[in-house]
């Protein structure tokens, strides 16, 4: 069944925050771990993990949506 235009707008605008939110959370976790352990590299590691997490979520959503359309 084809989804109404408004529903599609809703679904695709929801993707817009996926990448920045995951990246930001990754950085914040790394920043606090750095502060806790007195290190200076964990923020980079978690920033990269955050970026990866964002992409992973995005890819999962795409796989799911393309699966729904039967393609």
């Amino acid at each position: 069944m084809k989804k109404p235009f408004v529903v599609l707008v809703g679904e695709y605008t929801s993707l817009a925050f996926l990448l920045p939110a995951a990246t930001c959370v990754g950085y914040v976790i790394g920043y606090f771990l750095d502060k806790k352990f007195g290190t200076h590299y964990l923020y980079l590691v978690f920033l990269l993990l955050g970026i990866a997490a964002g992409f992973l979520q995005l890819i999962r959503r795409l796989l799911r949506d393309s699966g729904e359309n039967g393609s």
């Binding site: 809703g10 929801s14 925050f17 939110a21 995951a22 930001c24 955050g50 990866a52 964002g54």
Partner: protein, 249 residues
């Protein structure tokens, strides 16, 4: 910066300041100004909750199969829309979550829309309100995951499909789960604040037609954001339903 008090908040602060301070003291918190503890977003949320309660209390005895009124029609449209969305996104188990998802949708929608009435302000344009809803969603879908799949099976999802990928997948999954309440909060809060501010800016420039256009846009965004919030909630919930049930819909 002390925020501008709307008339309802002033009423609460003038007459119920003691109650407000007492409630805050229960949570070990102190108001910025102890003499005026009520904030706009708190009183507006109470008003929205009261409106919803009154609306349903009025509607309940009037429900009719033969002669449904306008209000019944409107709410039936909302109900059937959420019902079909929950089936599409969660599977045949979906309608089981409808009481939670529906309450969230109605609450956020009313919170968004109430800002259009002059003299009121959307509680959702204060970050605490979307954050509260988002944290509730986070706790709820994780709780349902543990409840439906058991602690170990649900936690096993975090390790990914292949065991040797687990050291990478676990932190990635934790980050993506923690990003969910953040993105839900910022999306709703930023959209509502931006919608309101655009209207205010154009009202400062002209009273002719243009602000009305932006108010129309604000109504559209209010519906859209309430929908996106519950859509994402349903997607998160769909992950907690055991796979054999989810795939069989």
């Amino acid at each position: 910066m002390p925020e501008h008090e709307i008339w309802l908040t002033r009423l609460f602060n003038d007459h119920l300041a003691g109650l407000g301070s007492w409630v805050l003291s229960l949570a070990n918190a102190n108001a910025e100004n102890p003499a005026r503890p009520w904030a706009n977003f708190v009183t507006m949320q109470l008003l929205v909750a009261a409106i919803i309660l009154v609306l349903f209390a009025v509607l309940r005895p009037r429900l009719s199969m033969d002669r449904p009124g306008t209000l019944q029609h409107v709410l039936e449209v909302i109900y059937s829309f959420l019902h079909s969305e929950s089936r599409d996104n969660i599977g045949h188990e979906g309608p089981r979550f409808l009481p939670f998802v529906g309450t969230l949708f109605i609450f956020i929608l009313f919170c968004n829309l109430i800002g259009i009435i002059p003299g009121f302000e959307s509680p959702t344009q204060t970050p605490s309100v979307p954050a509260g809803c988002a944290i509730l969603v986070f706790v709820y879908y994780n709780f349902m995951g543990f409840k439906q799949q058991g602690i170990f099976r649900y936690l096993a999802h975090f390790a990914g499909p292949v065991w040797w990928l687990a050291p990478f997948m676990i932190p990635i999954e934790i980050i993506s789960h923690m990003a969910r309440p953040l993105s839900l909060t910022i999306r709703l809060f930023a959209n509502m604040l931006a919608g309101e501010q655009v209207t205010v800016v154009f009202l400062g420039l002209t009273y002719l037609v243009v602000p009305a256009v932006f108010m129309g846009l604000h109504v559209f965004v209010s519906f859209l954001q309430a929908y996106i919030f519950v859509l994402l909630t349903m997607m998160y919930l769909s992950e907690t339903v055991p796979h054999e049930q989810h795939e069989s819909h």
